[in-house]
Symmetry: none
Subunit: 189 residues, 4 copies
DNA sequence: CGCTAACCGAGACGGTACGTCGGGTCTTGTT
DNA sequence: AACAAGACCCGACGTACCGTCTCGGTTAGCG
């Protein structure tokens, strides 16, 4: 075992939660290490010691679920279109919460500087193997979708469409979710 | 009429070009007004006078084509899939140039802070009415596509997929372009 | 003439005065650039721009008389002992003011790091050619003192004795002044 | 009785020696507790436990002779001038060693913050009753000097002159030592 | 054709935040 | 109980840029 003092779990959590709260309030460009430290009641060095790069804090906060709620597990009703639609509608609802869109845009800002944030954001929104990506794969296995469907590309197109809406400050509503799912999967039923 | 000298065109161009060069070199987070002014041989005030917000410079540079080359006009061969594929392949080639992907990621960073940049970036990549979006609309008019195809969503999905690849630092190659176009339009031929 | 903005005289004075006030309050080891800047209502850069080394501020403040009052010009009554005694008594009175001794001790701290401070402090206390050092030289010229008297060493011994008292936190009073003058010049009358 | 290990003598010595070495290298303002701890292979707490104030380490190191060599005992040949001159010449030689002057200047820095350092430094240089101060007292007792000679002031003037030279970065050489002794005691032979 | 106001370069200014250093305290496991 | 190691909160460091401002100088175009 290593001797001496160990990393303080309470500080770690306070930092992640403060980072989340301040990211929501001030956006990515307004997020400062100094602000996080003050809000968390922590010294700056306690941050720099463990996160040499600021965006790393966001990556961790995102991965721990301190920023975005978890989506429900994508269901498997046997009907891909229905399942994907359900997921996309849930994403649309997620975006419907006031401020959520701004938060995700801020996360995009962090993702630009940090690959981990990009990956974590993608996974949170459905790129995880346990989510849509997985559902599509299973659809191929079950013969519901032809084997040549590029699962990753399709997932990226779905999430990318949502994020592009976020970027352009336009809403992405349940109707859009249904249309998008339909146009990408509908004819294959 | 206003007296005295008017806005210096040479300064304006020097600023936009310097902004582009420095964005490429240092990324969005490393782009500073002071750096642009020094590189352009211009006073800081000459920048603040005309662009109160830094990201506005990027929006203008982008709109003037100082950052990304223009894509060819999307052709209209009568075959939507072929035309969309051609466009998407061109986008893939654009991304293949070394550093281009980083540049676009930097532009995403600016787009997070500035809606104009987001819009300009979208247009540059194909969301302009004269580009893919327009081609899809015409396909509906000509009956090549059913009238209920959501043109905007489809365009967003196509561009979004590309941008998500940029965000996750993965290549988007010609093969991906073809697969993506096929999966979204193929079965409608 | 140089173009552009010029050095702000008001900032310069505010900095010197703040430095003096804070040196008096907190001592040399408690003097911070940040504190000076805040007290003077000035940005830190305005200090670092002109004084790369903190002790330089003290040197300037001292040279401008913002820290210690000027001594009277050493008189020339024709009696060296009387004149030197008068000066030394004045120095003793200077030290008698509450806090003055602490201030001079602080100045010694700065002098350790900066030769200019040492020089300015010496001059303020009598090493200037116009002060005791000069008076002693004139005494040699007039035959009042033998020509082999080492003026500089004698001046240093006089001031050094005073400063050593300051260093050891013991008072240097008028009686000491008279005794010291007498023991160094008395027998030569 | 206290249980467990008592104060580690080896740590104590390592700390004092490291403090001396680092004071010589980096000066008083560059001397850090952390640096001493690292150099001595000791935990910071082992320092703070025994020396609540940093300058106390210097005071101890000085008192133990870890910083300056001991001067010879001031001789008593029956000739005060000769004896004082001998001492002062030895002080001049002490200062002649490269780096010695810087070290003493650093000690002055510590003395500004800590009276013990000031006292210890004075004693090391001759203010101890066993050194010059004592020799002068004995000279009065033996009638070699008149009884009204202020021994302390004279000692302070001698040492003060030397320290002022140190402060102003000028050498104090054997010739200065002889001149100074002569001017202060010469005529009393 | 000369005035004068808007623009220009340069860069100092009051600020905020950066990332680092060190101070002094506290915690952990070892001796 | 003292030790080494080192994490902790905190304050200051010296630097980089922000956006504003103040300089001299240099053009227009209007009077």
């Amino acid at each position: 075992m290593t001797r001496g003092p160990h990393r303080s779990e309470s500080s770690r959590r306070a930092i992640l939660e403060s980072a989340g709260a301040l990211l929501l309030q001030h956006g990515w460009s307004g997020l400062t290490v100094e602000g996080i430290a003050a809000h968390a009641g922590v010294g700056k060095q306690a941050i720099y010691r463990w996160w040499p790069v600021k965006s790393g804090i966001i990556a961790d906060a995102l991965a721990e679920g301190a920023l975005l709620p978890s989506l429900h597990e994508t269901p498997d009703s046997g009907d891909v279109l229905a399942d994907v639609t359900a997921w996309l509608v849930e994403v649309a609802q997620l975006l419907g919460v006031p401020g959520r869109s701004d938060l995700i845009r801020s996360l995009l800002g962090a993702a630009v500087e940090n690959e981990q944030v990009a990956a974590a954001l993608g996974e949170r929104l459905g790129a995880a193997p346990s989510a849509v990506a997985g559902r599509l794969s299973r659809a191929i296995e079950s013969g519901e979708l032809p084997p040549d469907v590029p699962v990753q590309l399709m997932t990226e197109a779905l999430i990318g469409a949502v994020l592009l809406r976020v970027l352009s400050r336009e809403p992405f509503e349940a109707g859009d979710a249904r249309d998008l799912a339909a146009v990408m999967l509908g004819q294959r039923r």
